[in-house]
C-alpha cells in the first residue's frame, strides 16, 4: 500500500476528528453540550485503551497467555468502587475548580505550589515513555502497512532505530503531526472551566473507531481465517510450544498477575489523562453510574479477540518473522485484506492520538498552571500581574509544553524504545503514575495526611521508580553504564535495581512497584503522622475529606474584607481567560443572582470568590489566590491569615484573661491595703486614745499638785495640820505621777523592744518572796492577811528577776487595792506544773465579771470603774505584766466570779 494513501487516509481521519472537536466546542458554546450524555463519558474514559491495548495486548498474550488481562482487570475492579472514589474526586474538583491531578494534590495539601510542581515533574517524566510508546506504535504500524504490500509474503518489520537518520524517521513526523493536533484540540482557547468538550467528543468517537477496528480484525481472524475461536484454540493446544500459554506457569507469574491488577487499579485513577477525562471533564457526576458498567463492558469487548488473534498469529507466522505486537495488522495484510488492515491502522491511530491528545493537554495544563506560571508570577521583573492580556501567554506556554512533551517522547522512543516491547514501556509509565495513588486516595479519605507526608511519599516513591525502572532502561539501551544494573550501585549487590535488597525472581515492573509503593506509602504515612498541618492545610483537608457534608460545599473557605471594584476584578479575570469570556462569566453570575453589577461598584465576598474560582480554573488555585490578593489591594484574607488573626485573638483573649486576673489580684491587694489602712487608722485612733488617756492620767495628779501648791502658796495663814495634810497630798500625787511616767516608759520600751533584759535561770520562789517583802507593809496598812504557799523544789526557769518582781508587785498591790480593808485575805501560791512554774495571787475582793477577764489586761482599763471608790493606780500595771510574761514565753490570766474574789495566775515555762 502506498505511503501516500496511508498518509492521506490518516490525515483525513484526523481532520474528521478535528471537525468533531470543533463541532463539540461550538455546541458547548451554544450551551447545547454534545457530551452531556453518560455514554459519551464512558467512551471518553476508554481513552485508557491506547495503541498499547490495540497492538500490545496481542504481543503480551503471545508471551504470557492471559498475562495481558490484569491491565483490564484492575480498572474493571476499580470501576466497581467509582461511586465511592471517583464521585468524591469529581465532587471535590467541581467544588474547587480543579484543573489537573497536580492541582488536586496541591489543593488538598494546603495549596502548595511546590507539591503541584513536584506532581507535574513526576507526571511529565513518568508519562514520557508512555507517549513514546504511542509514537512507536504509530510509526511501526505505518511502516508495516507501507512496506508490507505483497500478498502472501511475510512481513518483515524493521523498526526504525537509532541508526535511522532523523529525516527518515517516521516517528518524528508522527510526533510532529500529533503535537500539532494536540495543540489544535486542546489549546485553541483558554476556557474558564478548563473543559474541553470538543476534545472529549472526539475522544469518545475515537473509542468507537478503535473498538470497531479491533473487533473487525478479530472477527476476520476468528471466522475468516479460522473456523471460529474454538478452532484457533484447538490448533494452538496441539502445538507443544504454545500449550504453556494456556496455563499459569508458576507462583511468580501469579504474583505478577496480582501486582499488575493492583497497579492498573490505581492508574485508572492516577494517570493524568484518566484524571482529565474522568474527573476534570466530567460534566455530571451521575454519568459515573453509567460508566461503572459501560467502561468494563468496553474493556471486555476490546479484549475479546486478543487471545484468538495472538494464537492465530503464532499459528500463521514463523517465529521471529513478525513482531507479535503487529499481528493485528499483519494478519489481515498476510491475507491481502488491505482495507481491513487500513481500518486496523486507523483504529490503532485512534488509540494513539486519543492518548497523546488528552495526555499532552493534561500535562500542558499542569506544566503551565503548576510549574511555569507560579514561577513567572514570582519573577517581579516580568510584572505579569500588570499585563493586559495573559491568555495569549498561557496558550503559548501550553502549546510549547505539548511540543516539548511530545518531542521528549520521541527522544525516548529513539534512544530507548527499541529495546522494549510496547507493554513494558507502558508499564514503566504505569508504575510512575501509581505513585500518585497514596496522596490522591489518602488525600480524600485520610484527614490527617499532611503536605510534608505527601512530598516525602511522592519523592520516595518516584525516587525508587527512577532507580529501579527508568535508569536501568537507559542503561539497557547503552545510555548509562550498565554495570550498576548487573552488580548494583557502587558494586553493592543489595542495590541492584532489578533485585533491590535481594528481592529477586520478580518481573522488574512488579519489583519496582513493590519497592516504590512501600517507600511511597511508608514515607507518606510516617511523615504525615510525624508532622503537623498548617491552618490552611487543615481546612483544605477537611474540605476534601468531608466534601459530601453540606458544609463542605462552601469550597472557597475564604474570608473577604475591605473592598475591590467589580470592574477591577472583571479586568483581572479577563486578562487570563479573555475579556469576552470574563464578561460572559460575570454577566451570568449577575443574572443568576438577579444583580446589576454595573450598579454594584464594590464586589462582595461572593463575587471575589467567584472571580478567584474562575481564575483557579485557568491558572490553578495557588496562582489564582496570589493574583486576586495582589490585584485587590492586598485585602483578601487567606485562611492562613484568618487563622493567624484567630491565633492573635486567642492570644488577646488569653492576655485579657491575664489582665482580668491581674485586676482581681489588684482588687484583692486593694482590699488588703484598705484593710491595712483601716487597721492603721484603728491603730492611729488607739494611739490617739492612748495619748489622750495618758494625758488625762498625767494631768489628774498634776491638777492636785498644782491646786494644793497654789493653795499653800496663797494661804500662808493655814494651820499646820491642814498644811501637813495638803503637803502629804502633793507628795503622794507626785509619787503617783512618777510611777505613772515610769510605767508608761516601761511599756513603751517593752513594746519597742528596747528594754534591757537580764534573763537567767532563776528560782521563781525567791523573786516572789522579794516582791512579798516589798508589799508586806502595804497589805499590813490595809489590814489584809497574806498567806503564802510556795512549793519547794519547783524547777528554776529562765527569767529577768527585776521584771518578775515588778509583775508580782503589780499583782500584789492590785490584790491589796481590791481586797476589803481589815477583812481582806490574799493567798499567794507557787507550784510546779508540767508546763513550768505557776504562780497565783488570789484575793477576796469584789471579783471581775467574765466579760472583763480579757479587758483587764488592756492599757488604762480599770475594772474598778464599777466601784464607787476610784482605785488608785495608773491602769497600766496589768498591761505591763502581760507584756513582760509574753516576752518571757509565759502567759497570764485571771479566774474570777463577781463577788467571789479574783485569782491572777501566771506561768513561766521551763528552760527549753
Amino acid at each position: 500500500m502506498s505511503g501516500a494513501v496511508v498518509i492521506g487516509v490518516a490525515f483525513a481521519y484526523l481532520c474528521l476528528l478535528f471537525a468533531i472537536a470543533y463541532w463539540g466546542d461550538k455546541r458547548a458554546d451554544a450551551r447545547r453540550s454534545l457530551i452531556a450524555h453518560p455514554a459519551i463519558y464512558a467512551l471518553s474514559i476508554a481513552v485508557y485503551c491506547t495503541s498499547w491495548t490495540f497492538y500490545g495486548s496481542v504481543g503480551r498474550a503471545t508471551q504470557t497467555g492471559v498475562g495481558f488481562l490484569p491491565i483490564y482487570l484492575g480498572p474493571t475492579l476499580m470501576a466497581a468502587l467509582w461511586w465511592l472514589v471517583l464521585r468524591k474526586m469529581v465532587r471535590i474538583s467541581k467544588t474547587h475548580r480543579i484543573t489537573s491531578i497536580a492541582d488536586f494534590v496541591s489543593s488538598r495539601y494546603g495549596k502548595s505550589t511546590f507539591l503541584s510542581g513536584l506532581v507535574t515533574v513526576i507526571a511529565v517524566i513518568g508519562i514520557m515513555p508512555y507517549i513514546s510508546l504511542q509514537l512507536k506504535a504509530v510509526s511501526a504500524s505505518f511502516t508495516a502497512l507501507v512496506e508490507f504490500a505483497a500478498p502472501g509474503s511475510t512481513p518483515g518489520l524493521p523498526l526504525p532505530g537509532a541508526d535511522t537518520p532523523f529525516h527518515a524517521d517516521t516517528a518524528l513526523y508522527v510526533a510532529a503531526i500529533l503535537a500539532a493536533f494536540a495543540i489544535l484540540f486542546g489549546t485553541r482557547h483558554i476556557d474558564a472551566s478548563e473543559h474541553h468538550e470538543g476534545m472529549v467528543a472526539a475522544i469518545a468517537f475515537e473509542s468507537i473507531v478503535k473498538l470497531l477496528a479491533f473487533l473487525a480484525v478479530g472477527l476476520f481472524v476468528a471466522f475468516g481465517l479460522f473456523a471460529g475461536p474454538g478452532d484457533i484454540f484447538r490448533q494452538a493446544a496441539e502445538r507443544a510450544d504454545l500449550a504453556r500459554l494456556f496455563t499459569m506457569p508458576d507462583a511468580g507469574a501469579i504474583g505478577d498477575f496480582v501486582a499488575l491488577t493492583l497497579l492498573s487499579m490505581l492508574v485508572i485513577l492516577c494517570l493524568p489523562r484518566q484524571f482529565q477525562v474522568s474527573v476534570v471533564e466530567c460534566v455530571d457526576e451521575v454519568h459515573i453510574k453509567r460508566a461503572m458498567w459501560m467502561f468494563p463492558l468496553y474493556l471486555l469487548l476490546i479484549n475479546l479477540f486478543v487471545l484468538p488473534i495472538a494464537f492465530a498469529g503464532l499459528l500463521t507466522f514463523q517465529p521471529g518473522t513478525v513482531h507479535p505486537d503487529l499481528f493485528v495488522l499483519a494478519l489481515p495484510l498476510s491475507q491481502g485484506h488491505q482495507f481491513l488492515a487500513l481500518f486496523a491502522f486507523i483504529g490503532g491511530l485512534s488509540a494513539a492520538t486519543g492518548m497523546i491528545i488528552v495526555e499532552t493537554v493534561a500535562l500542558a495544563t499542569m506544566v503551565c498552571n503548576d510549574l511555569v506560571m507560579p514561577v513567572l508570577l514570582r519573577i517581579e521583573g516580568l510584572n505579569l500581574a500588570q499585563r493586559r492580556d495573559l491568555s495569549r501567554l498561557l496558550l503559548a506556554i501550553r502549546r510549547w509544553t505539548i511540543v516539548v512533551v511530545v518531542l521528549l517522547g520521541y527522544l525516548y522512543v529513539r534512544l530507548i524504545g527499541q529495546s522494549f516491547a510496547l507493554v513494558t514501556i507502558g508499564l514503566v509509565s504505569f508504575a510512575a503514575a501509581a505513585q500518585f495513588a497514596p496522596v490522591l486516595l489518602g488525600g480524600i479519605f485520610w484527614r490527617g495526611a499532611t503536605r510534608a507526608g505527601a512530598v516525602a511519599g511522592l519523592m520516595g516513591g518516584f525516587g525508587v521508580w527512577l532507580y529501579t525502572l527508568l535508569l536501568p532502561s537507559f542503561a539497557r539501551s547503552g545510555w548509562l553504564p550498565v554495570g550498576f544494573v548487573d552488580h548494583g550501585l557502587f558494586g553493592f549487590a543489595l542495590l541492584k535495581p532489578y533485585a533491590l535488597f535481594g528481592l529477586s525472581g520478580l518481573d522488574p515492573i512488579t519489583h519496582s512497584l513493590i519497592w516504590s509503593l512501600i517507600a511511597n506509602l511508608g514515607f507518606y504515612i510516617a511523615v504525615s503522622l510525624a508532622s503537623g498541618q498548617g491552618a490552611i492545610e487543615r481546612i483544605q483537608a477537611a474540605l476534601f475529606v468531608d466534601v459530601f457534608r453540606p458544609s463542605g460545599e462552601a469550597g472557597g473557605g475564604r474570608f473577604w474584607r475591605g473592598t475591590a471594584p467589580v470592574a477591577d476584578l472583571q479586568e483581572l479575570v479577563g486578562r487570563f481567560v479573555g475579556e469576552e469570556a470574563a464578561a460572559r462569566a460575570f454577566a451570568l453570575y449577575a443574572a443568576e443572582r438577579g444583580l446589576d453589577l454595573a450598579l454594584q461598584g464594590e464586589a462582595d465576598a461572593d463575587l471575589v470568590n467567584f472571580a478567584e474560582r474562575i481564575l483557579a480554573g485557568a491558572i490553578g488555585a495557588a496562582s489564582a489566590r496570589v493574583m486576586v490578593a495582589s490585584v485587590a489591594k492586598g485585602e483578601v484574607v487567606g485562611l492562613q491569615e484568618v487563622m493567624e488573626i484567630l491565633d492573635e485573638a486567642s492570644q488577646i483573649l488569653a492576655y485579657s484573661q491575664k489582665l482580668e486576673m491581674k485586676s482581681k489580684e489588684l482588687e484583692q491587694a486593694t482590699a488588703e491595703l484598705t484593710a491595712a489602712n483601716e487597721r492603721l487608722k484603728e491603730l492611729d485612733r488607739l494611739k490617739d486614745d492612748f495619748v489622750s488617756t495618758i494625758t488625762h492620767e498625767l494631768r489628774t495628779p498634776l491638777t492636785s499638785i498644782r491646786s494644793f501648791s497654789e493653795i499653800l502658796h496663797d494661804n500662808p495663814e493655814l494651820d499646820l495640820g491642814q498644811r501637813q495634810e495638803f503637803l502629804r497630798i502633793v507628795i503622794s500625787e507626785s509619787e503617783r505621777l512618777t510611777r505613772l511616767i515610769n510605767q508608761v516608759l516601761d511599756l513603751a520600751k517593752i513594746e519597742a523592744g528596747s528594754l534591757d533584759w537580764d534573763i537567767r535561770t532563776l528560782d521563781v520562789a525567791e523573786a516572789v518572796r522579794a516582791a512579798l517583802t516589798a508589799t508586806q507593809r502595804l497589805a499590813g496598812d490595809k489590814g489584809v492577811t497574806l498567806t503564802v504557799d510556795l512549793e519547794a523544789g519547783a524547777p528554776p526557769v529562765p527569767a529577768d528577776r527585776d521584771r518578775l518582781i515588778q509583775v508580782m508587785v503589780n499583782l500584789l498591790s492590785n490584790a491589796v487595792k481590791f481586797a476589803p480593808p481589815d477583812k481582806g485575805r490574799i493567798a499567794v501560791t507557787l507550784a510546779a506544773t508540767p508546763e513550768g512554774v505557776r504562780v497565783s495571787v488570789a484575793d477576796n475582793g469584789p471579783g471581775i465579771p467574765a466579760d472583763h477577764h480579757e479587758a483587764v489586761f488592756d492599757k488604762f482599763r480599770q475594772v474598778g470603774d464599777t466601784l464607787t471608790e476610784k482605785p488608785e493606780g495608773s491602769g497600766l500595771g496589768l498591761a505591763i505584766s502581760r507584756t513582760i510574761l509574753e516576752h518571757l514565753g509565759g502567759r497570764i490570766w485571771v479566774e474570777s466570779r463577781p463577788g467571789e474574789g479574783a485569782t491572777f495566775n501566771f506561768v513561766l515555762p521551763r528552760a527549753v
Partner: protein
Amino acid sequence: MTRSVLVVDDESNIVLSLEFLMKQAGFDVRVARDGEAALTEVAKSPPDLILLDVMMPKRDGYDVCQTIRANPDWKNVRIIMLTAKGRDIEREKGLAMGADDYITKPFSTREVVERVKHYLA
C-alpha cells in the same frame, strides 16, 4: 444670800482642793463623787453652779450636763466643765452639751475662783 456650788469629781484630792477653794470664796459647797450622785444632789436642790468633771464612773460629765439642760427647772444652773482632756473637740463638745464654760486641768486655782465668781455675780 449665799450662792451654792456643787463640786463633782471622782478624784478625791481634786474634790478636796476645789471644796477648799469654794468655801474660801464664800460659797455654800456640796460634793458628788460621780455623775449619778451629782444628779441626785441637783434633784435635791439645784445649786447655782456646778464644777463638773468629765471623766467619771457611771455617768460622765457630758451626760450629766445634758440631763440638767434637758430639765427647764434647772435652766438657771451654771455649769463649768473641768476636764483633763485638753483637746479642742472636747471643749466644743462640752459647750455644745450646754456647759457655760470649760476649764482644762491642771487649772490655776485663782482662775477657777474668778470664773465661778464671774458666773455667780
